[in-house]
């Protein structure tokens, strides 16, 4: 298969970026999207055309959350419930033009080309996405005293890999689905419930501070999440926030 690629090239965070057009040919339909970019980079290096295109990737099996490209108007490309590395070229047609952009958000500044700095997510987690005390080793699933339905919901929320597709898809660059998932999975298990009020307060304030937008219930995040985290988690986040407004009246730790 042959493709024309329009790829965003940007030297560094401060430089002015632009689209560069490259052609790749004889790509196998079984090739993954990132492998296709590897082939392009080999060409660029071997033919001394340009510096290879930088893009984030790690596990290449859809579980680490490192890769993330905005392909033809959709985060992670034109398929549901997958990360970019799980997108295959058979999803495209021969001769397609493919536009590849990095995540665009104030909170995710570009490092180089298609690589963005997602440490804002880490900062949100650091602000409250943890349990402060040692809760011991991993207990047997049936030893945690919660109904299975809650355990399932917590597990569904905990599936979030922090790839940032929710922010990339949202018209407001809002991180509500990410924060919702992180708040929800801890709030539903006994280990996390004690600090629930404090946690939601800290994480939401941090989210606002870092320049993520607010939610307008468009649910683009839910549509693009590779782990298909549900909008119910945003509702839970709102609920936890309301609870905190009325309950969290003690002085927070310095």
């Amino acid at each position: 298969m042959n493709f024309t690629l329009h790829i965003w090239r940007q030297e560094n965070a401060k430089a002015k970026g632009h689209f560069e057009t490259y052609k790749v040919s004889d790509i196998s339909p079984e090739c993954s999207f990132l492998e296709m970019l590897d082939i392009l980079n080999e060409q660029l290096i071997n033919d001394h055309i340009a510096h290879p295109v930088c893009f984030d990737n790690d596990c290449r099996e859809g579980i680490c959350g490192m890769c993330g490209l905005y392909i033809n108007g959709r985060p992670h490309g034109n398929d549901d419930g997958i990360t970019t590395c799980q997108l295959h070229m058979r999803k495209f047609h021969d001769g397609d033009e493919i536009w590849i952009e990095p995540w665009r958000a104030k909170a995710f500044p570009i490092i180089r080309d298609l690589v963005v700095d997602r440490s804002a997510f880490d900062k949100i987690i650091q602000s409250g996405g943890y349990v402060s005390v040692t809760t011991g080793g991993v207990p047997d699933a049936n030893a945690i005293p919660v109904p299975k339905r809650f355990a399932d919901m917590a597990m569904d929320a905990a599936e979030c890999i922090g790839c940032g597709a929710c922010v990339a898809a949202c018209k407001n660059a809002s991180a509500m689905l990410f924060v919702g998932a992180k708040v929800a999975h801890l709030a539903m298990l006994p280990q996390g419930q004690v600090e629930a009020n404090e946690r939601v307060k800290k994480m939401v304030c941090k989210m606002d501070e870092l320049g993520f937008g607010s939610c307008t219930n468009t649910y683009a995040c839910e549509a693009e999440c590779p782990k298909q985290i549900k909008r119910q988690n945003i509702a839970r986040l709102n609920r936890e926030w309301i609870k905190q407004l009325f309950a969290g009246n003690h002085k927070p730790e310095e």
Binding site: H6, W8, F19, Y70, N72, G73, R74, P75, N78, W99, E101, R104, A105, K106, A107, S127, A169, K171, N172, A173, S174, K201, K202, V204, C205, K206, M207, D208, E209, G211, F212, G213, S214, C215, T216, N217, T218, Y219, A220, A223, E224, R231, Q232, I234, A235, R236, L237, N238, R239, E240, W241, I242, L245, K251, P252
Partner: protein, 279 residues
């Protein structure tokens, strides 16, 4: 990071306020729609006149009117502020337009909301501003106001003629308690002769008159369509923002939202259509 500031209002709290004000407006809308249906009654405005008289004079209603206007303003200001803030969170736009499959209602909420604001100004010009004496309309007055009032001066011939014309034209209610459909000119003449008489806007006559003009009817139908689009997003969205999402009842909320949307829109639309076709 200071999470303990009193004045700092988080994005979620702002959204909660927008939803709260919106929910109040949804209740008002239903009430407004129900009241409008009295315009379809062919009783010369008996029922609707009694209703507008109550709404225009009751103290609690007057307080609620201020609350309502405030709610409108806050809902609009906060939404526009949030929209403005949200725009800033993506300084460099995507080259490709989004192909993510989403419901359009919420994306268009700011546009439908802005359109509503424009429509609302026209709507206020048609009706509400008459009450505030910003524009002239048609008026009604209680007959007893003329009986009880003792004019300081001799009643002018002009006023006498105007008054008699109103009586002779059958513009009184059946029990003779009200004189209706008083034009702005007649009102000016009568008001001069009877300074103490309290004239009220005759919304029934104004609605009947305006809804007999096709382009006004069409304008209002567009208005109601935009209202529908806006509340179709708003109804469900408010529940989500309040954190009321349930594996079972969310479906019910969705259905209720659709029913509410259709009932309100059709309820509003039936009045100008009905009046136009002489119902």
């Amino acid at each position: 990071m200071d999470t303990n500031k009193l004045i700092k209002i988080s994005s979620i709290t702002k959204k909660l306020l927008v939803a709260l004000f919106g929910a109040f407006l949804l209740v008002f809308l239903l009430f407004h729609m129900c009241a409008n249906l009295f315009i379809l009654a062919k009783d010369g405005g008996e029922a609707y006149g009694a209703f507008t008289h109550f709404m225009g004079t009751n103290v609690i209603v007057k307080v609620l009117e201020v609350v309502l206007l405030g709610t409108f303003l806050l809902h609009i200001c906060l939404s526009v502020y949030l929209w403005w803030q949200n725009r800033k969170n993506r300084p460099v736009r995507y080259h490709q337009t989004s192909r993510t499959k989403t419901a359009k209602g919420s994306k268009l909420a700011i546009i439908s909301g802005s359109l509503l604001l424009v429509c609302l100004i026209f709507h206020f010009y048609d009706f509400y501003f008459v009450k505030l004496n910003f524009v002239e309309g048609t008026y009604m007055v209680k007959t007893e106001e003329f009986m009880n009032s003792e004019p300081d001066q001799e009643i002018s011939e002009e006023a006498r003629v105007a008054f008699m014309n109103l009586i002779n034209d059958g513009k009184t209610s059946k029990d003779m308690q009200w004189i209706r459909q008083i034009s702005a000119e007649d009102k000016a003449v009568l008001q001069e002769a009877f300074p103490k008489a309290e004239f009220e806007p005759d919304f029934y006559a104004m609605a009947r008159q305006k809804f007999s003009i096709w382009h006004i009817v069409l304008g209002y139908l567009v208005f109601f369509l935009v209202v529908g689009l806006h509340i179709r997003h708003g109804f469900e969205s408010a529940f989500q923002t309040f954190g009321l999402n349930h594996y079972k009842y969310s479906r019910l909320v969705e259905i209720l939202g659709i029913i509410y949307c259709w009932v309100v829109c059709l309820g509003f639309a039936i009045v100008p259509i009905g009046v136009f076709f002489g119902l």
